[in-house]
């Protein structure tokens, strides 16, 4: 088992499947189809969408699935050497080992075995290629447009911190704010009104809505000033400034719209600053911890990790699980424990990867 799992993980890491490199992602999906070596009517390849995807089903010809397993094969950009998987001291290093080719490798092997054994369980493995940029053309498309549905959805997103079943993930509100000033020569700054100063003053007041934003690793709402641009010339009072703001919210705010209302109230004090494009306004992932699938998974989890730190918990970042949740499908994230996702030190312990394989095998058997 060990050898096959490690080899497949390394094979996947060696494919430079950066999200925007569509052709590399397409090749990877086709490689996986060959690797599966199963009947064509159990491989559903959506290759003509902007970001291609693949659905492997244990039963042919059905979109009504008992449970969907999910993984994405795209990764964030990396240097060339990060696509050369490296095994060292019981670890595999490389881009995507944690996020999320390790977990995906385990699921591919499990599905290959299930299909070869002609299981009568009705399961699907969804593999998409655009999770890192939002998942609109992958998971969202497969659920909303193609019409896959299920009783439960699990995405194998790896977690870098405590190993846990993620039933809650924060909602996401990304918006631009635009400030308008009155331009003029900056040697006579009193004749103008400075858009940059207006933008920063507004941001400061908005951050007061989220007083605990900087607290570490805690279930609370956070705000980040992600982008900024403003000004026209080095000797002009700027006419315009624009900020990109990323807010990750918990139950305290219920929805992104509640936050937008609160921001609008703040803007009464800042009449020259307006809300611009709402880039993302996504609800939280909030699955009932008492769900029967969660319970079964937790049982399998405890067999292999006798003292899980938290067992069931939350994630700060969002995942494609939210698209299932929006369709009313209970959804969770549960992946192998990895390290340093999105960094050049991204890696996974082989023992953790194996553990994940055995937990998932046990869980599938229990379904």
């Amino acid at each position: 088992m060990n050898t096959i799992l490690v080899q497949l993980t390394k094979d996947l890491v060696a494919m430079p499947t950066v999200t925007e490199h569509i052709e590399e992602n397409r090749k990877a999906l086709e490689w996986i189809m060959e690797y599966m070596d199963v009947p064509q009517n159990q491989l559903h390849y959506y290759k003509d969408t902007k970001h291609p995807s693949l659905v492997i089903t244990t039963l042919p010809h059905t979109k009504k699935i008992d449970m969907i397993f999910h993984g994405h094969i795209d990764v964030i950009p990396a240097s060339a050497d990060e696509f050369i998987p490296r095994e060292e001291n019981g670890m595999i290093y490389g881009r995507g080992t944690t996020d999320m080719k390790g977990g995906l490798a385990a699921l591919i092997i499990l599905f290959k075995t299930l299909i070869q054994k002609k299981t009568n369980k009705n399961l699907a493995l969804m593999i998409t290629t655009d999770e890192e940029i939002g998942g609109w053309h992958g998971t969202k498309y497969l659920l909303d447009e193609i019409g896959y549905t299920a009783n439960f959805f699990l995405t194998a997103e790896g977690c870098s911190l405590a190993h846990k079943i993620v039933t809650k993930a924060k909602g996401m509100l990304m918006l631009y704010m635009e400030a308008t000033g009155i331009p003029g020569h900056s040697a006579r700054s009193w004749l103008g009104e400075n858009a940059i100063e207006k933008a920063f003053a507004t941001y400061k007041d908005i951050t007061r809505l989220f007083p605990e934003s900087d607290k570490k690793n805690y279930w609370h709402t956070t705000i980040n000033l992600s982008t900024i641009v403003g000004g026209e010339a080095l000797n002009s009072v700027p006419r315009y400034a624009k900020m990109g703001i990323d807010i990750r919210f918990t139950e305290e705010w219920k929805t992104g719209d509640t936050i937008l209302e609160a921001i609008k109230a703040v803007l009464k004090k800042h009449p020259d600053v307006k809300i611009g494009q709402i880039y993302v306004n996504d609800a939280m992932l909030h699955t009932d911890e008492k769900n029967v699938y969660v319970h079964k998974l937790h049982t399998s989890f405890k067999k292999y990790v006798p003292n899980p730190l938290t067992g069931i918990g939350f994630a700060h970042a969002t995942s494609d699980a939210r698209y299932a949740a929006w369709k009313g499908i209970p959804a969770i994230e549960f992946g192998p424990k990895g390290e340093h996702a999105h960094s050049h030190r991204e890696s996974i312990l082989i023992s953790e990867l194996e553990k994940y394989y055995f937990i998932m095998d046990d869980f599938i058997t229990s379904l």
Binding site: K170, M174, S186, A187, R188, S189, W190, G192, N194, I196, E197, F200, Y203, K204, S213, D214, K215, K216, N217, T222, I223, N224, L225, S226, T227, I228, V229, G230, G231, E232, A233, L234, N235, S236, V237, P238, A241, G244, D246, R248, Y279, V280, H316, A317, T318, H342
Partner: protein, 364 residues
């Protein structure tokens, strides 16, 4: 022709040359035209980076050192074709560059022509074509060639005041470094934009808010940017441009830079785009006192001594070498705008003052 008319006619003649920064030929043509007005004077031609300039002497030789230099730039801000057709109506001449600074130049040329040959003191007339571009290729180039004076009178727009105080100017780019991270984990990164904001708040706090035109230091953040375009990242870099104008009672460039550096985290990059120290001409300067006296004689009232918010101008190129200068122009309005004009009456009075000033300097 009545000389009082000719200064207005010469102003209009100068406006017709389309001496925008983009027009190399016009810069040469306008200087050649001035040569036809001053054919008998000793002159020296300069040219640097395609910017020609002229220097006329009132003596038979061309000295390096003058007592007084009248300085004017003949280039103008970019304009539309119709703005290069001067229009005189209701006591004003409209046109591109009338205030900045062809009316002053016309008065200087004619005052120099009429009066300078009678003087024992060496007087220079310096005409350049890059005054709107920083003066590096005109006035500054002549200074580097050894030209110097005791007192410089530049015709930069001053609304008939005499500007004797000039704000310093420090324009900088500051680039802050942070640590990139996923924005769902604000504690995992170090946001360069927020570091920039912290610095900005501190430095803005060092300057009192200036709500009207006054002899006080001012600061403006003018450009901000970050290379990060991704919403879900904590940016690891952010750049801020500041335009700071300083008065010597508050700062020199050196003391201000010291304070800025003390506020900056060590991994910050500071680039100085432009710097010039503030400076103030002493009220007891003998040339300044003469100028005030003759202005009072001509106008029957005290002329206002004022300051310039613009640190730049060719006076700065002199002050960097320790050479004293002032700015003094006819009354006008709207330079660099579409409504630029100069008062014909004030051009004539200005011309009289210049002549009387030149006539007075032999006695200094």
């Amino acid at each position: 022709m009545n000389p009082k008319d000719s200064v207005l006619e010469l102003t209009k003649d100068l406006v017709r040359f389309r001496t925008e920064c983009t027009n190399i030929e016009a810069r040469k043509e306008i200087l050649a035209f001035v040569d036809t007005i001053l054919p008998t004077f000793t002159s020296k031609k300069f040219e640097f980076n395609n910017y020609p300039s002229s220097l006329y002497s009132n003596g038979t030789t061309m000295p390096n050192k003058f007592a007084v230099i009248l300085n004017a730039h003949l280039d103008v801000a970019l304009g539309t074709s119709d703005q290069f057709i001067p229009v005189e109506k209701e006591g004003k001449i409209y046109g591109r560059g009338v205030e900045d600074m062809k009316a002053a130049a016309a008065a200087m040329i004619l005052a120099f022509k009429e009066v300078a040959p009678t003087l024992k003191t060496p007087v220079g007339l310096q005409l350049v074509t890059d005054g709107n571009s920083g003066g590096q290729n005109g006035t500054n180039y002549q200074i580097e060639q050894g030209i110097t004076g005791d007192f410089i009178l530049a015709g930069e727009p001053s609304s008939f005041n005499i500007s004797t105080k000039f704000k310093g100017d420090l324009r900088i780019w500051v680039t802050f470094s942070g640590r990139k991270s996923h924005s769902a984990y604000p504690w995992g990164g170090d946001n360069a934009i927020l570091k920039m904001n912290t610095f900005l708040n501190k430095i803005l706090g060092m300057f009192a808010e200036v709500k009207r035109d006054s002899w006080k230091s001012t600061i403006a953040p003018t450009i901000i940017s970050t290379p990060n375009q991704q919403m879900n990242l904590i940016p690891d870099s952010a750049t801020l441009a500041l335009d700071i104008r300083i008065v010597p009672e508050e700062y020199s460039v050196h003391t201000l830079l010291g304070k800025i550096k003390a506020l900056l985290p060590t991994d910050t990059k500071l680039e100085i785009y432009y710097q010039s120290d503030p400076f103030v001409v002493s009220e007891n300067n003998p040339y300044l006192m003469k100028l005030k006296n003759v202005a009072k004689q001509v106008t029957n009232k005290d002329i206002n001594i004022s300051y310039s918010n613009w640190g730049g101008g060719d006076i700065t190129n002199y002050s960097k070498k320790g050479i004293v200068g002032i700015e003094f122009s006819p009354f006008g309005h709207g330079h660099h705008t579409d409504n630029e004009w100069v008062s014909t009456k004030s051009v004539e009075v200005y011309y009289e003052i210049l002549k009387n000033f030149l006539l007075s300097i032999d006695s200094i």
